[in-house]
Symmetry: C2
Subunit: 360 residues, 2 copies
Amino acid sequence: MKIGILGAGQLGRMLALAGYPLDLEFTFLDPATDACAAPLGTHLHADYEDESALARFCEQIDVATYEFENVPAFTAGFVGGLKPLMPHPRALIAAQDRCSEKQLFTSLGIPVAGNVSVGSLEQLRAATRDIGTPGIVKTRRFGYDGKGQKIIRGEADVAAAWESLGSRPLIYEAFVDYQREVSMIGVRAADGTTAFYPLSENVHRDGILRVSTPRAHDALQALAEDYTLRVLEHLDYVGVMAFEFFVVGDELYANEIAPRVHNSGHWTMDGAVCSQFENHLRAIAGLPLGETRLRAPCAMINFIGEVPPTEQLLAIPELHLHLYGKTPKPLRKVGHANIMAPDHRTLQDRVAAVERLCLS
Amino acid sequence: MKIGILGAGQLGRMLALAGYPLDLEFTFLDPATDACAAPLGTHLHADYEDESALARFCEQIDVATYEFENVPAFTAGFVGGLKPLMPHPRALIAAQDRCSEKQLFTSLGIPVAGNVSVGSLEQLRAATRDIGTPGIVKTRRFGYDGKGQKIIRGEADVAAAWESLGSRPLIYEAFVDYQREVSMIGVRAADGTTAFYPLSENVHRDGILRVSTPRAHDALQALAEDYTLRVLEHLDYVGVMAFEFFVVGDELYANEIAPRVHNSGHWTMDGAVCSQFENHLRAIAGLPLGETRLRAPCAMINFIGEVPPTEQLLAIPELHLHLYGKTPKPLRKVGHANIMAPDHRTLQDRVAAVERLCLS
């Protein structure tokens, strides 16, 4: 079967690496000249709204999917008109606008922080008064890795925040004083079968994910699965979806969904029986879903900007290296390591060893 | 780092899949138009003795290796003259001729079945008298998957065996009445560090490997490691080597070595901490070797001629599919499955389920 992927970054690359053993072939569409998935399939180097390129893309494939949520609506419509596009474009629409996303959560009974759409400085002032401070003002669209966000601690920050973000539609959200950030990676097959990975606990720095640690038997596993299932079923979703939550006591507050394989699920490549990448492909190819069980204590560490010396990383026991073949650049995700261990204490020691290499 | 591989079959394909996460790039040289590793790198489609193609191959790479033992001596010499070629060509010379191979084993104190080189019908008659029957007459070179072999049960078989094989140099070997066939996958780094996987027990049918089952704590593990180490050190070997043995009581009789990753080590892709493919690449790239420990009960089943229905295979728990993207053809290896299980009883049941799908 021939799979077409919109986007040819590291997620497309890891999808292809998971797909060849299933005898799947890959065609990527990506305007980037240095797209790191390109060596693993046919790379159509064109703009996402280039009709002739999209037509060629569709001619070469049986099924289409995407590795990023900001696929233009035109592109989704064009491809979806010619070939099965999974997940369905309605998942993109739901995820691309923080306001419609929050409304979806609310309509499904999933708790969210207080929030309001903001179109003017006056509205932003009103929002901070109504919802209170501290809060976060975010662009409704195209935000990622902490980009397009400002924290508002009080009245004094409002004008500056508007100054830097006000050119675009915004949302103001009450600041959630959370104890943990967790994410649920769920997968749904076309026949409605679903599977959920253990909740992973995520540590961000400068808005970028640094460490994900799956938690076997987290007390909030069942609740996170319930909320994720509501979204998957509402969207009649096929494929892998990530759902990020804030943990406050024994409550989960929805942060956002990603209608794709997700960085907080990279640990599944080595720590789960079947990885999120293989399960996404199984789902869109109409194959049975694989087991999501955690095999052993595991953690994922991102390499941001550059990769520590490979020789030193690989000398750490049970460390699995996943490099993306990307040129090092500040704040760019260039690879990650999955670290396994027989017990949590050993895992902590090994994670600390990797973090020392990242800092040195 | 750019890796050049002579041969672009399934072994080259699985090497590349293991290598991308280490940020390695691949160039293959293979005369086959349908080489199944081709989509995973640059494929130079040329004869192995095509000097200009070999020169282009060497220009594109940092390090060269091979995925089959019948690399022509000219090719090994040409490539080895321009780039580091690992394992060293002396490993090819040792493995390509069954007589020199047996002499090497004997010189290193590794037991072998009685054997003698045969160049005429008279010599074959004499050999069967001296060594006795039953025995096996084999071509000295280019035999694989049981090809180029005849069993001689008695005098009556000699003429026919000579008739079918006598056009080439032969070896006559005493038949070893073994209880088990096992193989040791060993890996040696350039600095002399070595690592050995658990012995795997192999079941052949029609001379073709069907099932490999790694045995944790096999009573013969230490002896097999000792014999393998002798060969690795004698050849100053860098990379993965497979060593096949016959088990008679508590003795090991050397059958043959393969100077490459080997089918009986495919279980390591899912059953070991670090696969034979990654370890071969780590060795030739000068990286630290990975752990060879068995993670859980595991077995490998080959798909010969065709692949059973994928949907049914993937419905078996903890089954990892590895398809090669090859056109189905009688007696052709088109893929394999690695099956894991929490215990040996469950493993047997799952293996039986796969075997039923292979037969149906």
